[in-house]
Subunit: 390 residues, 2 copies
């Protein structure tokens, strides 16, 4: 198998050497003084990145575990919940709430589109009993970013609890948790945090804590109260994913060195570069509206002639050249490919990826004007216009 030199999937993302070195530090006692010193530092760093003063909780689990912790702590069986789903991960969140006994109302615009704040408002006005709204900020399966500020404004005006799946957004896309009134925001280590998978992190508002005290779904491993009680003492309820937390200390340091707004701008710029390259390659974007095209994942349709089973040959050609991109999920399998560009990804990576994308498409019979995609990408990278801000 060819060595992967460019891992361009929306997670796991590449882990920088600095982070790898930090993760190789010797294990420590998770009930001892070294960990008691580490944990508050991580909590503070996460609060900075989440732009919040809410409590931060950390669990050894993937992002789906963070979503489950939220459902298990907030939702009671039989309760009506609104799930705003714009793709596979929104559907997963809705399925999860159903598995825990909630009556889930789904607001599901077509894949490739974002949710409409007015539609959400209409829905909530008709559903006064719904106390909790689940929204995906950035939908990894489609490369669409919701207009979260406007959606949050609706949810808050209607006085509902706002839960945001920020797995592939927080730390990469601007999400000021406190300013927008997000009650629970969830992310996972293998995304913008430049870490291996295995840790989920979430912020919990006062209103969410009040709801938690009354919610009646079973919970133990993911119980927030136990978690918070121990974290307040500089420990975790169960054994923490130590190596990844060592890495998190280092990746938070790297993020502080770069600065949040620089990080957000970098992701916007790189996404613009990939979109421009895609257009120059004659490919159609799944996210038709540039205003909601994701800064972290770009989904492109295969040309008709390479769609379906033929797409496998294209993936293979790319893989043989060291480039791994994401496949389409669910109903989009074989129809699209997804370029993940979050975390430790820089302008040079765009150039390297576009080069291989172009060669692979050409090798499989798709006509390209050699170099046009690279030129388009470079031009987009150089003109980082403020209008690109979602």
């Amino acid at each position: 198998m060819a060595q992967t030199s460019q891992l361009r999937i929306p997670g796991p993302t590449p882990v920088p050497d600095r982070v790898n070195r930090a993760m190789a530090a010797p294990m420590i006692n998770h009930r001892g003084p070294e960990f008691k010193a580490l944990l508050p530092e991580l909590e503070a760093g996460l609060k900075w990145a989440f732009q919040t003063e809410n409590d931060m909780l950390i669990f050894p689990a993937s992002g789906t575990g963070g979503l489950e912790s939220t459902v298990a702590n907030l939702v009671s069986p039989g309760e009506r919940v609104l799930a705003v789903t714009i793709g596979a991960f929104g559907d997963r969140f809705a399925d999860l709430a159903e598995a825990f006994g909630a009556q889930v109302i789904r607001y599901a615009p077509p894949w490739g589109e974002a949710a409409d704040p007015q539609d959400l408002d209409d829905l909530l006005s008709k559903e006064p009993e719904i106390a909790t709204v689940l929204i995906t900020h950035n939908e990894t399966s489609t490369g669409v970013t919701n207009r979260l500020q406007a959606l949050a404004e609706v949810v808050k005006r209607r006085q509902r609890l706002l839960v945001v799946d920020g797995v592939s957004s927080i730390g990469s896309i601007d999400l000021p948790v406190d300013r927008w009134g997000v009650d629970v925001a969830i992310t996972a280590s293998q995304k913008g945090w430049m870490l291996p998978p295995g840790v989920t992190m979430l912020s919990v508002s006062k209103a969410a804590w009040q709801r938690q005290a009354k919610a009646r779904a079973p919970r133990f491993y993911f119980d927030w109260e136990r978690a918070q009680k121990l974290q307040a003492k500089g420990m975790t309820f169960t054994t923490p994913a130590m190596s990844i937390l060592f890495g998190l200390r280092e990746s938070l340091t790297m993020m502080r060195e770069e600065g949040l707004s620089t990080i957000f701008q970098r992701h916007l710029r790189i996404a613009a570069g990939f979109r421009a390259a895609g257009r120059a390659l004659g490919l159609r974007l799944l996210a038709a509206d540039p205003e909601t095209a994701s800064p972290t994942v770009t989904a492109l349709y295969f040309p008709a002639a390479l769609s379906g089973e033929k797409s496998e040959a294209v993936f293979k050609t790319w893989r043989d050249q060291g480039l791994v991109v994401g496949e389409g999920q669910g109903k989009l399998a074989g129809k699209i490919f997804r370029i993940g560009h979050l975390g430790a990804v820089h302008d040079d990576d765009v150039v390297a990826t576009v080069e291989v994308l172009e060669r692979g498409l050409e090798a499989n019979g798709h006509p390209v004007t050699r170099g046009a995609a690279l030129t388009a990408a470079r031009r987009a990278l150089e003109s980082s216009e403020p209008s690109l801000v979602a």
Copy 2:
């Protein structure tokens, strides 16, 4: 803070350099061919170490997550469950089942003792409705190993489902899952597997699968059916803890190089060394019966004069010399200390640890005959008698 040169807690355990190097490998696509090649290799290695042909499931979570997955998949609300608990982790398993709505009957011998097969048989004969029995193989909080073979024989004869918390035993203490008829056996990466925390692994028998199909507790993240369906395709349901799985491939290789029975003998020998040293230091063992003293954790009472608050000074003296041991949990806090000796621990480590233990006790006023503990430990290490086998 002094550098920890000897981490002698019952997990996280030291991670060998070979494993650390393996974990620093570049991330891969968890839906791609490299992972499809890795996963079956890990499953095969785990089946070898679990001595089973049952299905193996792997989740990104701590050991408690593995226990929760078992309760969520096997137990229905209102159902009567027997929890055999001989310490803090047995209590945790019972609490967990209660959190998921089970009516838990506790068989709880005093801390420091093992469960009695005859008592278990009497209990089960009086409780024909109990379909599931939870048993801790090795109780990390007390350093006691249950006579699992005899207990399993009772549970199987009474035709109940046998669930074993093998978090701090599997891979370190002989637990032939198939031979003893264990339906579900659960472990975690940071124990005998020489890995950082963050992954739980468990085996599921046919009978457990049949129960799973009928059980009605809510489950999603830890749902076995989803997990198995994806693992059969060389994937995992949610993003796997990739770096730890890279490490697991290497630690399984190391374990195969050493051989299972050699590993089990090493743990028995080292435990005998620590027990002999403890006695020579004039300390009382919590596990009074040598036949059920744990091969992976040795719990020793502080001398009366150093018990309670004074124990903190002793822990500090040891820590300043680079030795970290475990504290007492729950009602044993301040009364005992626990030496973890599982995973990457070798004869030389016993000598190094005993040296610091002795000096620390002496520095805090406990009279010792210098060198006696070392001599006793060395003698025990050299005479690895078969009678030491639990």
